[in-house]
Symmetry: C2
Amino acid sequence: MSAQAYETVIEEIESMIRSKRLKLGDRLEGERALADRLGVSRTSVREAIRVLSTLGIIRSAPGSGPSAGAQVVADPEVALSASLRLHVAVDSLSVGDVIDARVMLESWAYRGLPRLPADLLQPARELLDAMEQADDPVEFHHLDTQFHLELVRLAGNPLVNAIMSSLRSSIESYVLDAAPRLEDWQAIATRLRAEHHAIVAGLSEGDGERAARLAEEHILAFARDAGLIS
Amino acid sequence: MSAQAYETVIEEIESMIRSKRLKLGDRLEGERALADRLGVSRTSVREAIRVLSTLGIIRSAPGSGPSAGAQVVADPEVALSASLRLHVAVDSLSVGDVIDARVMLESWAYRGLPRLPADLLQPARELLDAMEQADDPVEFHHLDTQFHLELVRLAGNPLVNAIMSSLRSSIESYVLDAAPRLEDWQAIATRLRAEHHAIVAGLSEGDGERAARLAEEHILAFARDAGLIS
DNA sequence: AGGTATCGTGTGGTCCAACCACAGCCTAGC
DNA sequence: GCTAGGCTGTGGTTGGACCACACGATACCT
């Protein structure tokens, strides 16, 4: 037995997924049954399930009934967010790296967009309206995150969406910490709102290239103001 | 105690990392000591360490001496690779999504590159030389992966490098499965080699834009040939 | 007959007390 | 001075025992 016990359990579950014996939404057999079938201890099965849970593949719930047990789910963000957050914490990734990656992602998403029907941009516009009222930096940032994510979502690539969301959340604490240090929050918020409208205008006119360039400058300028990059 | 036991352990370790009480390369206290200090069982501590290990933050080794114990490391790829691989397996992400993301990444990397000193491109050129001799599709693919990764590395963003590497490995099995189905492998390999040289030529002349466009078509054309996308 | 309180059962969550394999260190013996 | 052996602490694994939980069935009372 070269591989560790919990690894054999993961391999078994992954194999069941690949061979379609386990599909999205299916429930896994009980931990005790699985342990017995694979000839390992329940502890090892639990380690494996815990790992798959942090990878966003399985969700476990105690109790009984339809919602209980271990179920195959699809939550690609959890592992990405947790991993990035921790790697930024240990300084193996810098906040600047994350911001650069975000610029790449967002400008890619906008550049590829065709002229959009007005109703597709409606959710983003509503977020802009909400941001008009938001004076609190924390609330503003929250809406801002949703706004940018909503726009990237229009590109229709779920993987890019997951990465985008994870990038934001991995440096959220740094952004929020920086907010109070901003010189003139009101002035900056006003500028950010105007830039948001300009990006949406570009997209609604089918000028994804312009929106992309605006977004790049929008993101980098704020990051500079917040002292997140030099 | 609302949070689960293993979560409190993760929070404690993450807190130690954020406050720099734990730095890259440091060794964690023993599992038994940590369990005792936090008032949880060793089982829960082990679950937490196992999770952090799959997130690429901690590496554990049994035995004694300098290499033993749990150590803080920085391996951003492991979690990304595992997560993407499994999410592609459950069809929550498609191979096409992954390929599109890779095109984004690679073209971004090349577009941002200035004219490069010849020695920076030397490793890539050597991989091209090796690929001239590689007739076996598996060996060719292996070198191809290294080649593209080497070029992206020139952009100098470790996060992008990690994502790039994870994207490749998450769909590697699909690419390798598709290789035998290719109509005329020799002809395709010849074309791929020529395209590789053209990309390197673009970069060596400081024309990142051209290299990016060539890379986009290079990747998408092969994906179409291999039946990975339509 | 209809509602309601109760119990039974199976789930994951936690803990404990062992034992194993491993690798460095230290000591006794040559 | 050197080598072989045991000592010690590490993570890895196991079995068994509880717990809290939530559903479903059952028994009960009205």
